[in-house]
Amino acid sequence: MTEQPKNLSRRDAIMTVGVGAATAVAAVTVASEGLAAKDRKVHYAMVIDTRKCIGCHACTVACKAEFDVPLGVNRSWVEYIEKGTYPNVKRNFLPRLCNHCSKPPCVDVCPTGATYKRQEDGIVVVDADICIGCKYCILACPYNARFINTRTGTADKCDFCLHRVKKGLVPSCVNTCQGHARIFGDILDPDSEVSKLIATFPVTVLRQEMGTEPNVYYIDADHTDERDGERMGQYVRVDTFLPYEKRR
């Protein structure tokens, strides 16, 4: 007789767990629906022609002004890669920003859904009203593109100037670029300038081995870092203008 209620309570417990799990699976299925990349009509991308970059940081400043980014952090910046010994020396410039990856690791790890890749145009955005500032995305990004905005306490990064792009303008950094080194456009439109440049020139992306499929393409980028310098017996110095000693 005493067995009966015990069995019931156990069955109840199993049922509760089962229903909970089913709800969770349903929620996950709903969340992952509608993310099919093939449905996308527009996918914004950027081509950075480093041959035309003069390292003037106008893009850095324009971005800073556009968003009033707090001190010490940047949504977009330019790295200096200095290498060689006199007289064989060169300083190359590498403009940086969020790569708006097709497989964004930051989106995969976001526990609240605050960061997501926009279905309509492929821009990866952070919803500052949802983000809790857990910094998981900051660690998951292989490009250092993210930081905590000390004003809001939430994760922040480049959003391709979504507010400008919505009105048919180019991002602020593209608008200000003196040498026309930053080119912005729709990669799915074969007649766009970015598509033509990608079709014409050898392009690379950053940290391709991460499998993130970036949408910022570089022409003639210098991928050298200090570790390569050690291996090649060359003097190499990278200035990231980030609050870190090294690129990471």
Binding site: A27, V109, T112, I132, L139, A140, E245, R248
Partner: protein, 332 residues
Amino acid sequence: MFELNWGLPVIGYLFLAGAGAGALTVSSSVLLRGGGGGFGGAHFKVARYGALAAPVLLIIGTALIVLELGTFKAAVAHGDWALLFRWLNLFKVINLSPMSIGSWALLAAILASVAYAYTFLPGNKADDRMKSLRRGLAWIGVPLGIIVGIYTGVLLGAMPSRPLWNSPVLAALFLVSAISTGLATILLIKAVFDRDKKRTSENTAGTHFIKEDRSTYLLTASDLLLIGLELVAVFLFIMFAQLTIGAPAEAMKVLFPGGEMATLFWFGFVVVGLLLPVAVELRYVLPTLLNHQPYSIPVAIEVLVSSLILIGGFVLRYVIVIAGQITYPIGL
């Protein structure tokens, strides 16, 4: 210097929540294995220590991570109190992020452990109405503790951008360490608070001994097994990275001689947290295990060994969390 995105609050959380989850799992399984789950059953005392420690550790640990949240810091810095409870957004959705699944699992583990601890409060021994509830919660407690213990490793391991963490072995290492530290917590509490005259004695020199205590013996012997598994996990963790060409092998240099975290890892974790406890525990467990002598261990030694295991568990979290953030993929 590197800026650490996840600092001491996260390290403390990984340690405390791991120990709490371990204590929940150990307590629940000990209760179920002890038979019955009623008052006075075998190992009941041990199960109770674990049951009471688990929610405390889990809740303190979880409270710690809130301190690391950007929104919490901004709320305090700017007096914007609306941001203070922004973390509740975690419980408005569930997605495939390890942190999302982990948050829900942690919430479930906290609720279950609080209810489980409640069933251990002193009650009517003759008419133990909590018995079936206690058993039912123990059945939930074992998997929940394991899930919380394993998720902390998955949380760190989910990012290819952090090559030192991006290893499937890390979750196993954290799980074993969680159970081991949970067990050490129980042993420590028992050694400090259990003054049962039948089980402790004093020799002529005035040293207190724990004598012929089946629960302590079984827990200590299990702990030896767990530490053995932990040593295997450490070996596999390092070997896995070392045999991978590129970023993981490069990142692992931080744990090898000359690396920034080498001394702390090898001395603070492997020697102090694993090898030393193993050596001491073997000294007391082997005579019972091999020659069936009555088990007896000085209380002071028991306190020392369980403290060492706890220190080792903390140092492991400390080293791994920091080492993962100061290493990065090679090339750009």
